[in-house]
Symmetry: C2
Subunit: 110 residues, 2 copies
Amino acid sequence: MVTTRHQRSTQKMLPCSALGEVRVDQVLRALGEPVRLEIVRALARAEQPMNCGAFGLTVSKSTSTHHFKVLRESGIIAQYDEGTARYSELRTTELEQRFPGLLTAVLTAE
Amino acid sequence: MVTTRHQRSTQKMLPCSALGEVRVDQVLRALGEPVRLEIVRALARAEQPMNCGAFGLTVSKSTSTHHFKVLRESGIIAQYDEGTARYSELRTTELEQRFPGLLTAVLTAE
DNA sequence: GGCCTTGTACGATTAATATCGTACTAACCG
DNA sequence: CGGTTAGTACGATATTAATCGTACAAGGCC
């Protein structure tokens, strides 16, 4: 069974932007970068949280960290720590509520 | 009656990217810039071609030219010349075909 | 022709972003 | 404790992108 966000609330959730404060151009900018789009697509395929190392990105660790941070600050993903790993998940529901159809359209594309 | 694209085909259409060759991240990047998003929104509201001067942009002429070029090269707008004016229009249909729901979602946002 | 309008082209500058390496922290395992 | 794992933080660099000013081109008008 997949752990839900609520169950994790006692754990180390990292601060992520309230989606109400995020503008759409910020989200588009965040998604308009190949590495970050790859991350988002992988999360969508997985349908469950993934730890940062599991993406098989071809960039350095520090560059990965940077991209995850951009995604988190633009409200696209949430992250929490578990042991030495940091897990990321798509904020699918919140995104859909704030920008209806956007994530679906981006994931559908091509 | 609104002039269609076909009727203008004998005029000076500028080369714009074939949408088949445009990747979604390029489109997202193009839309993720406030001035360009403003242009796209104005075109959507107008529902007809607008000349570049009609947008009331607060940037210089050369900067405008740059942004229109980015939008054109990413397949989002088409442009044609008429007299001394250059008109832009959204490639609504082609965009919808290539990236279903994307433009609508972006225009709906907020 | 001269002049205004509309917009481009080019080059320079500045600002933003992507990238990396190194040093570091925290959790776990022996 | 020391070593390993997973990832961050910081500082540097390199690349990309936004911005502008000036010079230019083409159409329309007198």
